[in-house]
């Protein structure tokens, strides 16, 4: 598999590796994928309760180079965004940024799922209703 320099850079220097306290009300955790499929991503966000800005993001990924790169990039992108802004990140943006080959597009889908799962977890914990926009996006996925 020949990867773009950006994938190789994220693989060699993954950003925001680690974990945050799952039980904290400010932290949302998304765990997506399956070991038997060869990729599992855990993406966590820490949200400022006043501003709803994602102040911190951490990930750990079991998977191929593009899965690692996709989730590493996702943590970079969500940081500094509000929760609603982060929900606008699309897997196609990740594909474009990392120049993923067609067989690796599912890695970007998983990264988008991880962002949504983490935000969903945070919203559930904090009693924030799902936005209509988000619901309709999921329905068409």
């Amino acid at each position: 598999m020949s990867y773009s320099d950006k994938v190789i850079d994220h693989y060699n220097n993954p950003r925001n590796v680690g974990q945050m306290d799952k039980s904290s009300s400010e932290v949302g955790t998304g765990l997506v994928g399956a070991p038997e499929c060869g990729d599992v991503m855990r993406l966590q966000i820490k949200v400022n309760p006043e501003t709803q800005v994602i102040e911190e993001a951490k990930f750990k990924t079991f998977g191929c180079g593009s899965a690692i790169a996709s989730s590493s990039l996702a943590t970079e992108w969500v940081k500094g965004k509000t929760v609603e802004e982060a929900l606008t990140i699309k897997n196609t943006d990740i594909v474009k940024e990392l120049a993923l080959p067609p067989v690796k597009i599912h890695c970007s889908v998983l990264a988008e799922d991880a962002i949504r799962a983490a935000i969903g977890d945070w919203k559930k914990k904090n009693g924030v209703a799902e936005t209509a926009d988000y619901v309709s996006t999921v329905a068409t996925n």
Partner: protein, 417 residues
């Protein structure tokens, strides 16, 4: 976190990249190339030219090679049929026997970890009305001889079981299988691509009727192979699959690849002389690699029997690390992975799955294939590098973290995608 790559430096005597994928192919031995060279230019004759010295010279060289190859497997020269490689040999053996013996029966027995050249050939025959039994393998990769006995019936014309597996290096009980077949008058073919020149193979002692081999796995050239076809007790007949000038006793038409054949002969001669010491050396290097990896890393799993295994093979799973990401981190070392992400089909290795391993373990597997030109310093470097990269990727692995925290990840409801 430090970078995944380049944390382990190579010593001065180790040249990168390191080739440790000898089950895939091997470099030619320089002695083989020397033997071949004249047959490309000066001694270029067609071995089928019967009326001039160019032809005679080529024919003589082919006959020498036939003898060298026959000697390595305990056969006679007349039983050696040249082909383009083992895929063709396997096709010729299985289809040629199925066609020739169809009056006697339509049942073929093989097993699930065969190479695709055997499995897909059998699948094609199923479309033509043949019945094929695919024997399972045990957790160690070996077939159960009782399963084989039970599968044999009065319509069975052929048993085709590989000598040694290309992924896990597991050696099947070839002599026992040969004996069972011989007692029942069933022909026995073995794909011996990984075994010939690596471990002793003897078609007489092992009751092998038909055997496939290729040159490029034993330090010979690509594009040339052999099908051994027994001439007596019993005399095996094979229906040609390529028609033409009637070369190779009518079983395989086409002008012979004389330089390739000379190379294959020389490669077999060298293998016969050096196999024993080479096997000892490679076993020692393989054990060293295994010991170092097992000593430094937890959750490593050797795939397949260690007892019945080719000297140069080590197939290991580094659980909770995905194989392709591991290959990326050790990209100055040429090895293979059973991970789906490294395959065109996105399916993990069917060989590893046949051992009963979960997909997650198959995704984490690496095949190390050691060979003639690997040095001890390379083994040390490979071990250190793999250990370093596995450790770093496990720092990245949510699964490794969960297991370390005592979470049973098999109990989690994963969402397969």
């Amino acid at each position: 976190m430090s970078t995944v790559e380049n944390a382990v430096a190579a010593p001065a005597d180790v040249h990168l990249p390191i080739y440790m994928d000898y089950h895939s192919t091997s470099p030619m031995d320089p002695r083989v190339l020397d033997a071949m060279m004249p047959y490309f230019t000066v001694k270029f004759g067609n071995s089928a030219s019967r009326n001039h010295s160019f032809g005679w010279e080529a024919e003589q060289a082919v006959e020498v090679a036939r003898g060298q190859i026959a000697k390595l497997i305990g056969a006679s020269s007349k039983e050696i049929i040249f082909t383009s490689g083992a895929t063709e040999s396997n096709n010729l053996a299985i289809k040629g026997i199925a066609e020739m013996y169809k009056e006697r029966g339509n049942h073929i027995i093989t097993q699930v970890t065969e190479h695709k050249a055997v499995l897909d050939t059998c699948k094609r025959l199923e479309k033509y009305g043949y019945r094929v039994t695919y024997l399972p393998v045990k957790a160690d990769g070996l077939i159960d001889l009782d399963d084989l006995k039970r599968a044999m019936d009065d319509k069975t014309i052929l048993v085709t079981i590989m000598s040694a597996n290309n992924e896990i290096g597991v050696i099947q009980p070839i002599a026992e299988i040969g004996k069972l077949c011989h007692e029942r008058g069933i022909l026995f073919h073995t794909d011996a691509v990984q075994a010939v020149g690596k471990i002793p193979m003897d078609v007489q002692k092992m009751n092998i009727d038909v055997l496939s081999v290729t040159a490029h796995k034993l330090y010979g050239p690509k594009g040339v192979g052999v099908l051994y076809v027994r001439r007596r007790n019993p005399r095996v007949q094979i229906a040609a699959q390529i028609d033409g000038g009637g070369h190779e006793r009518g079983m395989r038409s086409g002008t012979l690849n004389v330089p390739g054949i000379v190379g294959m002969g020389k490669a077999c001669e060298i293998a016969g002389q050096e196999m024993e010491t080479e096997a000892e050396r490679l076993t020692r290097l393989r054990e060293k690699l295994k010991t170092k990896l097992e000593g430094a890393l937890d959750y490593v799993h050797v795939n397949g029997s260690m007892e019945h295994r080719l000297p140069g093979n080590l197939n290991m799973s580094f659980v909770y690390v995905e194989g392709e990401s591991l290959l990326m981190g050790i990209n100055d070392i040429a090895v293979s992975s059973g991970s789906a992400c490294t395959s065109a089909t996105l399916e993990p290795s069917y060989v590893l799955k046949a051992l009963g391993l979960g997909d997650d373990v198959a995704h984490s597997s690496i095949r190390f294939g050691l060979g003639r030109f690997n040095q001890e310093a390379e083994v040390d470097y490979v071990a250190n590098k793999v250990i370093d990269v596995v450790q770093k990727l496990r720092e990245l692995s949510p699964l490794y973290e969960m297991v370390k925290e005592g979470i049973d990840i098999s109990k989690i409801e994963w969402q397969a995608h």
